[in-house]
C-alpha cells in the first residue's frame, strides 16, 4: 500500500501548488479537485491497512465525493459569471443581466 500513501502526499502537494500558482479559475478548480482526491486516497488507504477493513472512512469518502461535486458546480457557475461580468462592458460578449 506504500505507493498509494506516497501518491496521496504527492497529489496533495501538486494540488496545493496548482491552487496557488494557476491563474485560470478553471485550473484552480481542477487543483482543488486533485487536492480533495488526495485526502480521500489517504483516508481509504489507511482504512485498507486496518484489520478488518474499516467501512466508516469509505462512507465518509462517498459523502465527500458528493460534496466535492456540489462545490465544483457552484465554483464553476460563480467563476463563469465572474468571467462574463468582467468582460461585460468592453468585451464582445454581453450577458443578459436582467
Amino acid at each position: 500500500m506504500t505507493p498509494y500513501l506516497v501518491l496521496a502526499a504527492v497529489l496533495f502537494v501538486l494540488g496545493l501548488h496548482g491552487l496557488f500558482v494557476c491563474r485560470h479559475p478553471l485550473r484552480k478548480i481542477l487543483a482543488l479537485n486533485v487536492l480533495t482526491t488526495a485526502v480521500f486516497l489517504l483516508l481509504v488507504t489507511v482504512a485498507r491497512l486496518a484489520e478488518p477493513l474499516d467501512p466508516v472512512p469509505h462512507a465518509m469518502v462517498l459523502t465527500g465525493i458528493v460534496v466535492t461535486v456540489s462545490t465544483t458546480a457552484v465554483a464553476l457557475a460563480l467563476a463563469a459569471r465572474l468571467a462574463a461580468f468582467g468582460r461585460g462592458t468592453g468585451g464582445k460578449r454581453r450577458t443578459d443581466g436582467s
Binding site: 505507493p3 501518491l7 502537494v13 501538486l14 496545493l16 494557476c22 478553471l26 485498507r48 478488518p52
Partner: protein, 314 residues
Amino acid sequence: MAWATVAFDLLLAVGLGWLAWQSMHGTGLFRAVVSFMVFGLLMALAWVRLDAPDIALAEAAIGAGITGALLLSALSRWPEADGSPDVDRRRRWAPGFWMPTAIVLLSLLGLAAWRLPAPGLGVETAAALGLAGVDNPVTAVLLNFRAFDTLLEIGILLLGAVVIWSLGTLSQPLAPTAPSPALPALGRLLFPAFVLASTYLLWRGGHAPGGAFPAGAVLGAGGILMLLAGARPWLTSDEHGPWRWILALGLLAMLAAAVGVLAVGQDFFQYPPALAGPLILLLELTAGLSIALLLFALYLGGQPPVRWDRGPTP
C-alpha cells in the same frame, strides 16, 4: 505474482501523478479538463485496488462522469481565453521558496501518512451489522449508523442547486448548435438502459456495493444525455412546478425518518431494528431520485426558464 501487483500499483501511481500535473499545467484548457476526466477514471481503478468498490462506482459515475460533464459544459460557455499564459511564469519558478517548501511538506506528509495508526471501527461495524437492516457495511454506515452525515450531504447538494439557480436564469442554449442526427435516437434508445442500471444499483446497495449515490449519478447522467439530445422535459416552473419538490424529496424523507422514529420512542435517527431494512430502502429510493435530479439541476448552471423554448435552436 506479488511483483506484478506491485508493478501495477506503481504504474498506476505514476500515471495518476502525471495526469494530475497535466490537468493543472497542460497546455490548453480542453487538454486539462480531459486529463482530469482520465484521472478520475484511473482513480476508480485505484479504489478497486484498495478494496473500496463502493467508492470506485461513485468515482466513476460522479467524479469522472458528472464532474467531467460540468467542466466541459463550463468550458464551452467560457469567454475565449485572452492570450495571457495560464500560469504565472514568474511565480511558478520562484525555486528559492517553492522547492524547499514543497519538499519539506511532501516529506512531512509522507511521514505522517506512513506513521498514521489505522482506524479500528471495522470490528464494531461488523458486530452491529445484524441490527442495521442491510448487509452491505458501507450502506449501513451511510444510512443507519452515520445517517446524519448523509442528511447533511443531501442538504449541501440542495444548497448547491439553490445557489446556482439564484445566480440567474439560464439564457444560453444548452444543446450543441449542430447536434448529431444520431443523438436524439441514441438518447431515446439508451435512456431506459440508464433507468434500468440505476434501479439495479439502488437495489444492489442493500447487500453489495452500489446504493443511492451511484444510482442517482447514473440517472442524472442519463438526464444530461437527453438534454444534449435536445429534450427539454424538466424543472420548468410553468409546467412542472410541483415536480420540483423531488429536488428536496431526499432531504425531507430523511428528516421525516429522523424525527418520525422519535414518535415511537427511539432516539434521533435510531431506527427500530425490525423496520430498519424497509426504511433504508425507502430512504435510498427517495435519495436516489433527489440526487439524480439535483445533479441534473447543478449541470444546468442556472435557473431553468418558466417555459423551455421548444423551437429548434438555430
